[in-house]
């Protein structure tokens, strides 16, 4: 009664305060500049000084690899030749953003543009002896995205998480309450007096609620796609498969936990325990990587973390079942489901004896 609200308050506090949302960009300098002026190094310095973006200069191949494995969220490649004397020629800055999280993309773009202003206007302009020059005069910025795109926004980032969260949440709650009513109302006992075994009972629940959860996921997806007009890539069938596996887990968790409740009021008290930590720690709003280490450990023990990661990889990055980003998460979900099934089937019989 007291421990749960306190724990949740503390959890929120830690997550908000100690999550490290700093972004990192790689800067690649492929310009040919006569003289001492090094645009790449200057840009790195400008970005670091601004404090909003960490930056490191590195060669192109390394930069690309860092973007692929998520070490950096953006790569800025400076190209072109700048002569200190003579007519000014335009430099080119190719900014490649990861794009999975549109807010990150926006933050990087803003920081880079600001850094560019400082570098170009102050440093290069001065070096060339030009006054009152603006970045567009000297640099052409070209932005591209690995995943998503310019039209992606925060809703596109959240939609997969919401599908996963609701698939888990409603199904868990409904199952826990329904199963409690079966027990308290005596119908479970009637079922146990009939020649069916506990596996069939649990399976029946899984299929029934699984179907419901899929319909619900479909409804959310259709609403998001056609009304909110979210952008998504990837295979819808895969989305349903992942939602389905998540549901199997949550149904059985619901059955298992309902044994600890004697009435609906007690079942409701499970909601903050099961759902709020997952809502905070599984990447719905704050990405798991940005959490302090000890909270990340907890995140990795939560099924929703894997569900959300898998769905984001499917819907935003367009990955398929064969890709590790989806396959490994799917296997983790299957593992959770198997574990919860074990717990549930042990408790179904025990409830009656």
């Amino acid at each position: 009664m007291l421990t749960v609200p306190i724990a949740i308050t503390l959890l929120v506090g830690y997550v908000v305060r100690e999550s490290d949302t700093s972004l990192k960009a790689a800067v690649v300098d492929e310009t040919e500049v006569a003289g001492d002026f090094r645009p790449g190094a200057e840009l790195v310095q400008a970005l670091e000084q601004s404090g909003s973006l960490a930056a490191e200069e590195m060669p192109l191949a390394e930069a690309r690899k860092s973007l692929d494995n998520g070490d950096v969220e953006g790569v800025a490649v400076l190209r072109g030749s700048v002569a200190v004397t003579g007519p000014p020629q335009k430099m080119k800055l190719e900014l490649t953003l990861d794009g999975t999280n549109p807010q990150d993309s926006g933050a990087i773009t803003t920081s880079v543009n600001r850094g560019l202003t400082q570098v170009v206007v102050k440093e290069l302009g001065q070096a060339l002896g030009l006054a009152d020059v603006s970045p567009e005069d000297l640099v052409e910025v070209d932005v591209s995205f690995v995943h998503g795109g310019e039209e992606f926004d925060f809703v596109d980032y959240e939609a997969p998480a919401l599908i996963a969260f609701f698939a888990f949440f409603f199904v868990f709650l409904l199952t826990a309450v329904s199963f409690l009513r079966e027990r308290a109302g005596g119908t479970l006992e009637r079922l146990m007096a009939a020649p069916i075994n506990r596996t069939e009972v649990v399976l029946g629940y899984m299929l029934g609620f699984g179907l419901f959860a899929l319909l619900q996921s479909l409804a959310i997806l259709l609403a998001a796609v056609f009304i909110l007009r979210i952008h998504y890539e990837g295979n819808l069938l895969l989305v349903f498969l992942l939602a389905g596996i998540t549901t199997v887990g949550s149904v059985n968790l619901g059955i298992f936990l309902s044994t600890f409740a004697r009435n609906e009021l007690q079942v409701i008290q499970f909601v903050p325990i099961v759902l709020v930590p997952q809502g905070l720690l599984s990447g719905v709003i704050w990405s798991v990587d940005s959490l302090p280490g000890w909270l990340q450990v907890i995140s990795r023990c939560l099924p929703l973390t894997y569900a959300i990661d898998a769905l984001r990889n499917t819907m935003i990055k367009g990955q398929g079942l064969a890709d590790s980003g989806v396959l490994l998460n799917a296997l983790a979900l299957v593992g959770f489901a198997a574990f919860f099934i074990l717990l549930a089937s042990r408790t179904v019989r025990q409830q009656v004896e």
């Binding site: 009637r190 007096a193 020649p195």
Partner: protein
């Protein structure tokens, strides 16, 4: 294979933790009879019925139902169980509840659900959800669910609680008909006048058998004119022995 004994227990004991609810129960229920379990609340009637229904495992002793040692899932198909509380799906209709249990038991004959509903007099209310029914109608629905698969053994835990007198009479007339068809009925009650209608009775108190026999035998043994007095007399006798 027809056996003459539907239920046989030898030294049947059931403990929940440290509480002993049934102690050393030995009895035999003949096939095709209505056998009554009589006793106050807490005497172990429901526990005994649940043991026979295969819901509980004996702590000690032996229990054989319809020739099979319990617990046995196979024999459950031949047993009909009507629990003390109505135990129905509240949001489903009468017809849906009966139909659901008929399918659980694998009843294949078409029209059986309608047949059973007519038996309990609920044909007009077949489409009413259970939460909208009175207590007596819920009991009738519960009875229908216990009967739908034509069981050989019917276990009824206080079936006439909350049921008005005319319906109670109808129930007992129906039990008599079932007996004639060879169905064995084990019924628990703490209403003494119903006990008179059973073929044989066992008197339970605090998990022990006080006396066993037909209503007439029990009255004779105790030297009383009513069964209620016989029960009290037997209880006293047991207390004196202890």
């Amino acid at each position: 294979m027809t056996t003459e004994i539907a239920i046989e227990t030898t030294g049947l004991t059931k403990r929940f933790g440290s509480i002993e609810v049934l102690c050393d129960i030995t009895l035999r229920v003949p096939t095709g009879q209505t056998y009554g379990l009589l006793g106050p609340n807490g005497s172990g009637k429901t526990t005994l019925i649940r043991l026979v229904a295969g819901l509980l495992r004996p702590t000690a002793g032996r229990l054989t139902v319809l020739g099979e040692t319990m617990p046995s899932r196979r024999i459950l198909a031949d047993i009909g169980y009507m629990p003390q509380t109505a135990a129905l799906y509240q949001e489903l209709t009468v017809g849906e509840n009966v139909s659901f249990f008929s399918r659980i038991y694998g009843v294949s004959s078409p029209g059986r659900v309608e047949e059973v509903l007519e038996l309990v007099g609920l044909t007009e209310r077949a489409d009413s959800p259970v939460y909208a029914l009175s207590g007596g109608m819920r009991q009738r629905t519960s009875m229908a669910c216990a009967l739908v698969h034509s069981p050989k053994l019917l276990l009824l835990d206080e079936p006439t609680v909350g049921v008005d007198p005319p319906l109670r009479v109808a129930f007992w007339q129906y039990f008599h008909r079932l007996n004639q068809e060879g169905v064995t009925i084990l019924v628990s009650s703490h209403v003494m006048d119903e006990a008179e209608r059973c073929d044989r009775l066992v008197l339970l108190r605090d998990g022990l058998i006080l006396a066993e026999g037909s209503a007439a035998e029990l009255r004779e043994q105790a030297g009383t004119s009513t069964l209620e007095e016989a029960f009290l007399r037997h209880a006293e006798a047991k207390a004196e022995l202890a």
